[in-house]
Symmetry: C3
């Protein structure tokens, strides 16, 4: 799954794309492992509400200010993006039930960009039962 | 698994209930994925010591004060609970060995309530070998 | 997998050992669950750059100072190590593809020691397909 982010810092709700990809597979029960092969963005699960998304950006900006000083900025200029990602998740594992991600009513899955805009990859690994009774991966 | 929390903020050790549920299943080797379909509570693994549980509540209260100000509080009044949960885990994946969660001597599994008291759901998804030599889920 | 840490606080890149262990198994596709049965160290995925590793130690030391005061220090003297570990991960789940951990170009897997030097255990649980077409956790 490819996600094009549009701002320097941004939460992008990727739930519809992941559910659609899961729907096209034949998986019915099991685990979906969603991961990003990047070090300056992360994943998160929470509510898709505009104010809350702004609060997440503010919170991490307060805990890990962009200005630093950081040692890593001697070789690159994005230490804050690495460090904020390190306080979040590089992957999310979620149960699959009846062919869908088992999310609560208020839960959405987000890609959290800290060093955008960029094109990001999201890897999805499915394990469990497929519709024809077989086993996979 | 249902967990009734009793205070506004609280760490509840759910290890016994999860181990019991695992014992009633026939799983012997594999992975247990424990998740909460909520956005204002989280999961954590650490030591069950009264002082440390108090320290966890104090730490998150200091990093994410209840008072804010938060944008999300314009539509609801629990931004601090969402944000504290976002610094913790919405799910825990642990190895199962010989039919039990493979936890270290000092590790317990906690539901961390930030917006209680409430009844919370804990979902448990098991993958791997079952006792009769079959495969599941 | 056993890892001997050498300093009080330290990020140890364990990617080569995990890849080697995976190579000796016959797993080709699936999920690797890497976990630590400890409460004062953690796991992380990010870039192996000397400055950034220093920044990670500094960040967590600033967010969770060693001095406290902490309630847990009445029974032990390492509350800061528990609390820093709680802001990181007790396990990492990563996809396995073609018999290797599917990590991005800049991603390394770290054991993050907060209460060393110590000998630490890293548990690795593999689920998925093995080379001979069989199934295993």
């Amino acid at each position: 799954l490819r996600v094009q982010t549009e701002r320097r810092s941004q939460l992008v709700n990727i739930t519809p794309q992941v559910q659609e990809l899961l729907g096209r597979s034949e998986f019915t029960e099991g685990i979906a492992l969603i991961s990003v092969p990047h070090t300056t963005c992360a994943l998160a699960v929470n509510e898709d509400e505009e104010g809350l998304k702004e609060d997440v950006l503010q919170l991490l900006s307060r805990l890990v200010p962009e200005a630093g000083p950081y040692e890593h900025n001697k070789v690159d200029n994005n230490a804050h993006a690495h460090l904020r990602s390190l306080l979040q998740l590089p992957y999310i594992a979620l149960p699959i039930s009846a062919g869908k991600l088992q999310l609560g009513s208020w839960q959405s899955l987000f890609l959290v960009e800290w060093d955008g805009p960029r094109q990001r990859m999201v890897l999805i690994t499915l394990m469990g039962d497929v519709a024809n009774g077989g086993k996979s991966p």
